[in-house]
Symmetry: C2
Subunit: 761 residues, 2 copies
């Protein structure tokens, strides 16, 4: 008998869906098919013809041909078409309904129902899902509205805070078509575009905005940093060139120079008329600035400094603006007066004449292509007996007088060096804050894409939005939460910097730590967002390549992150005073090691439960993070002391415990970030914004605890039950944040023209 002929046999009708399912996914072996038939055979009262037909259909030795199976499927679908929502029925109900269509008025008989139940049991099908896939109809789903429970514009204004005006001004400016990206442009052309943009920012007063009014500025570092953060959403070559010109070059003239340098150069630097470089790093010395080898030797006969690159490893390297556009540089060199090496100082050195020709004694080489930042002309500079007048020394902290005497109001050479370097902390803060802008851009693109992109899904229904997968939520939502956390931490840091009231060493340590962990967070976020957008994320037009390649160096420039992180711990070891030099560390360490561990144990936060109320208690979060930070410092001190006691010197001891140094720094920065986030929530008067920020803050905290739960468990700060509950809650909160995530990225207020990614609109 032809299999297809049985399709019209009304007795077989109720079994048809089960037969199709048995074959469809091909998971049953011929033996299993036989067993299935045998079980159906055993059902009392089943019709013999029906049993035979079933045996024919399920004969593993002579399986149905594909066309027969597709005919079977068509027959089922045809009959089911007249039913109301057949996809919601389980297989037995569908069978009963099909019987109705085939033999009206006749109910499904008990043996048939039992046979279907047997088959379902073997196949392991429950509920309507077998049916749904049987009747699968693919359909294209509409893009759902994503409604937030808060006002993104209001939250955006709160994020902007006191810098809203400059930020909005920058957004409007950068959204102009002439600031549009040039795709696939040649490097030389790209550099010229970036130069033109930089000059426009100068002309519009954005570049010099931080300089005093008498030099064309507005005297507002707050505005400068606010503008810089918005540039972080735009082309990062522009951001970098802008930072080099107005922050590093102009800024070091302003901060390390005195009146004569300001009068001579500052207005021209701010207007973009005098393009300059910040020539600090050398090939052999990046992090260890104190060991730079370029020398500036004072010649009393001519009252000049003579600048020389003693060997190739001491050439200035990676210097922005050097390869093409820079006319001058602030050069860091060892100042030698008489026979005395006074260490690293900064001098103003012309590099090129007005026609762009390098001046005598100066050699410049292009660094060539880089991972990113192709629009920045990084170069290498060699000095061969370059003569500059004595007044070229930027002499705010040290000078050489007419008689050739070296003078400084800071007697300690170490302190003088670190005062010089420390005055440049603004760049580190700016770069750190800009890295958070990069994270915001990436998240905006990835979240918007994921609220439209569908892939896989339940049978018979539209495919699922990828942001509705927990794995996708876990990938993006904690990073979104951390981005808000870092946003508020940097806003506060900028405020503290601008106010100028914080101890400069505390400020420097915070700047170092936030820059390090903030930029690591940013590049990790860009990568996660790129992967979350799959192949579309790999296209250059969708910006991840630029964000990733350009921002990559944020972990290196303005201070290598690993080195910066260690400054945080050094500062903590020195009783919260930043101690760059190792020498005096020891007294502090002894002090700490003797006292604090015992004291800490007394004020440890309550272990508490694993219930949600406790796990979302902000007071507990703050206590727990504070305790971890304090404990890590004390434990670090104890580890240092042990090594010192055994005769190791302090530098070697600090290296030996480096792993703990970094753990300590991370714990402190995570506490700092949490503290800033919590304070920003407290200060927000809009209940709806507060609610979503609270949710984000909970997710931030719980994700960090989850990440470090080994440590918290080891130290008895959470129970195993709490650790599991935290993971569960972090998953749930990621789902909760997902519901507001469109609005949250909208609150970053990045203009579409600036974001530019087609998939990010």
């Amino acid at each position: 008998m032809s299999l297809l002929a049985t399709l019209d046999d009304p007795r077989l009708l109720p079994l048809l869906p089960a037969i199709y399912v048995a074959w469809a996914d091909g998971e049953l072996s011929a033996e299993e098919m036989k067993a299935l038939c045998a079980r159906v055979d055993d059902v009392d009262g089943i019709d013999v013809a029906c049993r035979e037909a079933l045996g024919d259909w399920l004969d593993g030795a002579a399986p149905p041909r594909p066309t027969e199976l597709s005919e079977l499927l068509s027959a089922i679908r045809r009959r089911a078409a007249g039913l109301d929502h057949p996809e919601r029925m389980d297989l037995a109900t569908l069978a009963a309904e099909l019987v109705h269509t085939g033999r009206p008025g006749m109910p499904l008989r008990a043996p048939e129902a039992r046979a279907i139940a047997e088959i379902e049991a073997v196949l392991g099908i429950i509920g309507p899902e077998g049916t749904a896939s049987l009747l699968s109809l693919t359909g294209r789903a509409a893009v759902p509205d994503e409604v937030s429970q808060f006002d993104p514009a209001a939250l955006g204004a709160y994020l902007d805070g006191s810098r809203a005006d400059i930020r909005n001004r920058m957004r409007r400016l950068l959204a102009q078509p002439r600031f549009g990206y040039r795709a696939d442009i040649r490097r030389d052309d790209y550099r010229e575009v970036v130069l033109a943009w930089t000059k426009e920012l100068a002309e519009r007063g954005i570049g010099p905005i931080g300089y005093p009014v008498e030099y064309g500025g507005e005297g507002s570092m707050s505005c400068f940093m606010g503008a810089f953060a918005v540039l972080g959403h735009h082309d990062l070559s522009l951001l970098t060139k802008f930072g080099v010109q107005f922050g590093l070059f102009g800024g070091s003239l302003a901060r390390l120079g005195t009146r004569r340098h300001h009068d001579a150069y500052l207005a021209a630097a701010g207007s973009g008329e005098l393009l300059g470089c910040f020539a600090m790093t050398e090939t052999d010395h990046g992090s260890n600035v104190r060991a730079l080898e370029t020398v500036a030797v004072y010649n009393s006969a001519t009252d000049e400094f003579v600048i020389t690159t003693p060997h190739d490893g001491a050439r200035k390297d990676y210097i922005g603006n050097a390869a093409a556009h820079g006319r001058a540089a602030v050069v860091f060199a060892r100042l030698v007066v008489g026979d005395v090496d006074h260490g690293v100082h900064a001098l103003f050195v012309p590099l090129r004449d007005p026609s762009g020709q390098t001046l005598p004694g100066i050699r410049i080489e292009d660094c060539g292509p880089k991972i990113g930042l192709a629009g920045v002309d990084n170069g290498r500079i060699w000095f061969d007996g370059v003569r500059v007048p004595r007044t070229a020394l930027l002499d705010r902290f040290a000078s050489v007088d007419e008689s050739g005497a070296y003078l400084s109001e800071i007697p300690s050479p170490d302190r003088r060096f670190f005062t010089t370097i420390g005055s440049l902390v603004g760049g580190r803060i700016s770069v750190g804050a800009a890295s958070i802008s990069v994270a915001k851009s990436a998240l905006t693109i990835a979240v918007r894409y994921a609220t439209r992109r569908r892939q896989f899904g339940p049978a018979g229904q539209p495919e699922r939005l990828i942001l509705d997968y927990p794995a996708h939520q876990r990938r993006l939502m904690p990073r979104l939460a951390a981005t808000f956390a870092y946003h508020f931490a940097f806003e506060r840091l900028i405020d503290d910097y601008v106010a100028g009231t914080m101890d400069s060493r505390v400020l420097e340590a915070q700047a170092a730590g936030l820059k390090a962990y903030g930029s690591w967070h940013a590049i990790d976020t860009v990568q996660a967002c790129r992967e979350a957008c799959g192949g579309a994320g790999y296209l250059a037009e969708n910006r991840f390549g630029a964000l990733r390649g350009d921002a990559d160096v944020f972990t290196t420039y303005e201070g290598d992150n690993t080195v910066l992180a260690q400054l945080v711990s050094k500062s903590l070891l020195s009783d919260y005073k930043l101690q760059f030099a190792d020498m005096n560390l020891l007294g502090t360490i002894r002090f700490l090691a003797g006292k604090t561990l015992a004291g800490l144990r007394e004020v440890a936060p309550a272990l508490g439960g694993s219930d949600e109320d406790h796990l979302r208690d902000r007071r507990w979060h703050l206590d727990l993070f504070k305790w971890r930070s304090d404990h890590q410092v004390a434990a670090l001190a104890a580890r240092m002391k042990k090594r010192l006691d055994s005769g190791m010197d302090s530098a070697a001891a600090f290296v030996a415990v480096q792993d703990h140094v970094l753990a300590c720094a991370r714990a402190h920065i995570e506490y700092l970030v949490l503290d800033r986030f919590a304070a920003a929530i407290e200060a927000n008067g809009d209940p709806a914004s507060r609610r979503v920020l609270d949710l984000l803050c909970d997710l931030y905290v719980l994700t960090r605890i989850e990440h470090d739960r080994g440590w918290f468990l080891e130290h008895g700060r959470i129970s195993a039950a709490a650790a599991k509950a935290i993971r569960k809650l972090a998953i749930e909160l990621s789902a909760a944040v997902r519901r507001d995530s469109r609005g949250l990225v909208d609150s970053f207020l990045i203009p579409d023209a600036v974001l530019a990614a087609p998939i990010g609109r």
Copy 2:
């Protein structure tokens, strides 16, 4: 009295070093200076003139001028110059020795010694370090020899194993100057260079090496995969183009087509004469291949298929070789015969005529610039009623006969689909293995750089090699260890694939998991290595940009990693049989949930101690990782069951527990990798190689345990003491591996010309 005049006062001589140190780092406030003087004042018997001079020097209200301090330093250095190794003396000893030089025959008096001790106590100086920094002489250090305790060449040969011949052949070939990288090349030119390279690999028989001898090959997939892994060290655009041409295009002709397709196209594909594409992915459907929307409708009147792109979302996207060079494509489309949609099948479709003109009905667009792989011409393809003969269907698993009937030996449409897709598993294995080559390249560059680059260091000594910092070791050495682990796992996977004896579903699950976690490992490693090389790492010439940008898409192509990881868990849930379709999962889940959790608890590995012998016991490692993997599967099954019991359908339940699905997959793959690594060590007959591999394997295991120690603690598999001991041991083993690290990267046998990075030589 002039301060400088006191320098010659022999009574002050022993105090000079202490005075300098007190000022040098500028950490003491004026008040602290006063306190210091007061303490020295209290020392009985100290000379009055000496006390006064000291008071002058330490007067916080009138600090010495910089020149006075530098004179002081010069005086100390001058006098110390005649001593033997003054930098090894502590401050008191130095003082005593200086006294000798100033007043020969007179020992340091007790009050002076006490005064010095007082000053040292206030300053917190111990041992010789104060002295060392006083006498600091910078010197350029030689590059140290890095001697391995094993023979890198022998280890390299072991890594190459049975594929040594093809690998060495590839290394020699790619080291030829004509395969040298072209820096900074335009995209169009770059594509032509890559095309020329691809053709040379074809002509030299490397491209078709996996095809049967009768089509110009050697019938060796082992050689193909061995060659591919070496290409992973070279330009990844070439790797990708090579993979598209010979693996995906040619390979799908070989595996999905039958004799007529082989005869017609395979030799031409292998020789590079017929360049082709693998047109599977569409804009709207990447991972969910089953939902592709391109249709190939059979027209019985003309005995042809008509291929159509129904809407823009169904265009073929990201297709390699499409934008410029491909003459034909293997196109995946829904096969519609009569009214029946038989799902996705592959057809051979010509795209361009010999002159390069696209054929009627075909529209191709360039995907434009990407994050990397600029040498690959990815494109988008639309089909508008493109007619191909019935025989264009690659009909190994399904065909349409002359009468227009659809035939297949595989009755189940699901099974037929997954058999089709599964036959392409070789590409996934190859890409996974190549990602490990990328990690090797990055590590070779970073390790070699770090054994020459110095930064910071103890006073008076050469700066420290950056690889001698524990933080640097912790960054690179565990990744080096994991790279060896993945190497052996992929070698074994290739062997199993080539042997063809493993259950295809187990093989597919292993390929999916190893590709996912291997490629994640690779891009994480490249990033860590880039950062470890600082600014030098950011220069394009040092290759990290290319490695990073090109390999980035390895996490997406040949299967999105997050999707692939879930396949591993699906396979495990199905009692170690891969189950792509969800439908039959349920029986297995019920089976698992009912039984295994209880059973597992009985065979849990001993908790054991925290001593090193235990922590380095390979049996314990294997038992622990196996237990974790089994436990995760059972726990996952239990979680699924709970949701199913509450009425959730299986697809929704699988999504709901997605976080655990991924954790389970990772646990299994880490076990698999460990098992393969351990077996490879066992099989190595060279004691020196075994010793270093054992060390690496210990480091791999302990790093993974440390990473997941929260889980192990929660599940009572390690104690808090053991967790801390593991961290300590991981730090120590990183230091131990560092000693052999030069040799270890040498054993990867990457020719300098192929590695190309100047800092990686």
